[in-house]
C-alpha cells in the first residue's frame, strides 16, 4: 500500500468512526482476546456500561456464529480454520457492529428467511420470540449453538439488523459472502 493510500485509508476509517477492524482467522482464543481489547477500548472512550455490554454481546454472537457456521474455509485457504471480518464503530450516539464471512450457497435461502423474519419483528416480538425459543427443545440440524445467536443480535439492536449476500469472488458457484450489521 502506498503511503498516500494508507493516509486515505486512515481518513476513511476515522470518518466512519471505526474503533476496531479485524480480518483473518477466527478461533475462540482470538474472539476472547479481541473481545477483551474491545471492552477496554469502549470503557476508555467512556461508552456507557449498557452500550459496552450490547456491543460485546453482539460481537461474541457474530464471531461465534462465524466459527460455528462459516463455510468454504478449505476452498478459500486450504485449512479448516474459519475466517471472517468484523468492524466495530461509532457514528453519533450509536455503535455498529458489522461482520462478514463466506457461506455455502445452499444455506443462503434459509438464512435470508430467518433474517427477514427478524427484520420484520418489533422489539417486543423479538423478546417474545427469544423467550419462546429459549424454552423449546427444538433444534434445527444446522444449529450447533442454541439457535439463539441471531435472536440475541436482534434483541440487543436498536434498529432492524441489516444483511446482504453477494457471490464470493471467483467462487460464486458454490459460495456467497455474507455481511451482517447490527446497530446498538
Amino acid at each position: 500500500m502506498q503511503t498516500e493510500i494508507y493516509r486515505a485509508f486512515r481518513n476513511f476509517v476515522a470518518e466512519q468512526g471505526v474503533i476496531f477492524y479485524y480480518n483473518g482467522y477466527l478461533s475462540q482464543p482470538i474472539v476472547a482476546a479481541i473481545g477483551e481489547a474491545l471492552r477496554g477500548k469502549l470503557e476508555a472512550e467512556d461508552a456507557s456500561g449498557k452500550a459496552t455490554r450490547k456491543v460485546f454481546s453482539t460481537f461474541v454472537e457474530m464471531m461465534q456464529n462465524i466459527i460455528h457456521y462459516a463455510d468454504g474455509a478449505e476452498a478459500l485457504s486450504g485449512t479448516a480454520t474459519p475466517f471472517g471480518n468484523v468492524a466495530v464503530g461509532r457514528l453519533g450516539e450509536r455503535y455498529y457492529i458489522v461482520s462478514g464471512n463466506s457461506v455455502a450457497n445452499s444455506h443462503v435461502e434459509r438464512l435470508k428467511s430467518r433474517l427477514d423474519a427478524l427484520r420484520a419483528m418489533s422489539s417486543e416480538e423479538i423478546r417474545a420470540e427469544y423467550r419462546r425459543k429459549l424454552r423449546t427443545e427444538e433444534r434445527d440440524d444446522n444449529s450447533k449453538g442454541a439457535g439463539l445467536g441471531f435472536l440475541t443480535v436482534a434483541r440487543e439492536a436498536s434498529e432492524p439488523i441489516e444483511y446482504f449476500f453477494e457471490p464470493y469472488p471467483g467462487l460464486g458457484e458454490t459460495l456467497s459472502f455474507f455481511t451482517l450489521k447490527a446497530t446498538v
Binding site: 475462540q28 482476546a33 455490554r53 461465534q64 439463539l148
Partner: protein
C-alpha cells in the same frame, strides 16, 4: 461426594460447587466455544448431587457478568434441575447476583425464576 472446582478463564466462569456444604457458586463470564461440552461435567456433578440430597437447604449463588446465547440455554436447564430438587423436600435458595446497571442479566434471572416457583429466588444487586 467430592466438591467440584473449575478455575475461571477469560471465557469460562469459575465453578465452585461445595457439595459438602450445600453451597454452589457459578461466577464470572460464560462464552465458551462449546457451552454444551464445557458444562457437561458440571451438569453431571450437579445431577448426581441433587439425586442424593433430600431435606436440605441448598444455596446457589450465580454471579455472572456476561453469558452468551448457548450458555443461556444451559443456565435455564440448571434452574430446571434445581427446581426439580424441591420434590425431594430440599429448599433451594438461588441468589442471582447482578450488576444493578445491567437490565439484561437481571431480567433473565427474574424471568426464568418466574418459571420455577419452588426456588427461593432472590436478585441481589452487586455493583461492578
Amino acid at each position: 461426594m467430592e466438591d467440584l472446582y473449575i478455575a475461571p478463564e477469560r471465557d469460562k466462569p469459575e465453578i465452585d460447587f461445595k457439595f459438602s456444604q450445600h453451597h454452589l457458586v457459578l461466577r464470572g463470564e460464560s462464552f465458551p466455544e462449546n457451552a454444551v461440552s464445557f458444562y457437561a461435567p458440571v451438569v453431571a456433578a450437579l445431577m448426581n448431587y441433587l439425586g442424593r440430597t433430600h431435606d436440605t437447604d441448598i444455596t446457589v449463588d450465580f454471579e455472572l457478568r456476561y453469558f452468551n446465547s448457548s450458555s443461556t440455554k444451559i443456565l435455564l436447564n440448571v434452574f430446571r434441575m434445581l427446581d426439580q430438587a424441591s420434590s425431594n423436600h430440599n429448599r433451594v435458595h438461588v441468589n442471582w447476583r447482578h450488576d444493578p446497571d445491567d437490565d439484561t442479566v437481571l431480567e433473565f434471572g427474574n424471568d426464568i425464576a418466574s418459571d420455577f416457583i419452588t426456588l427461593k429466588y432472590q436478585a441481589v444487586p452487586v455493583p461492578a
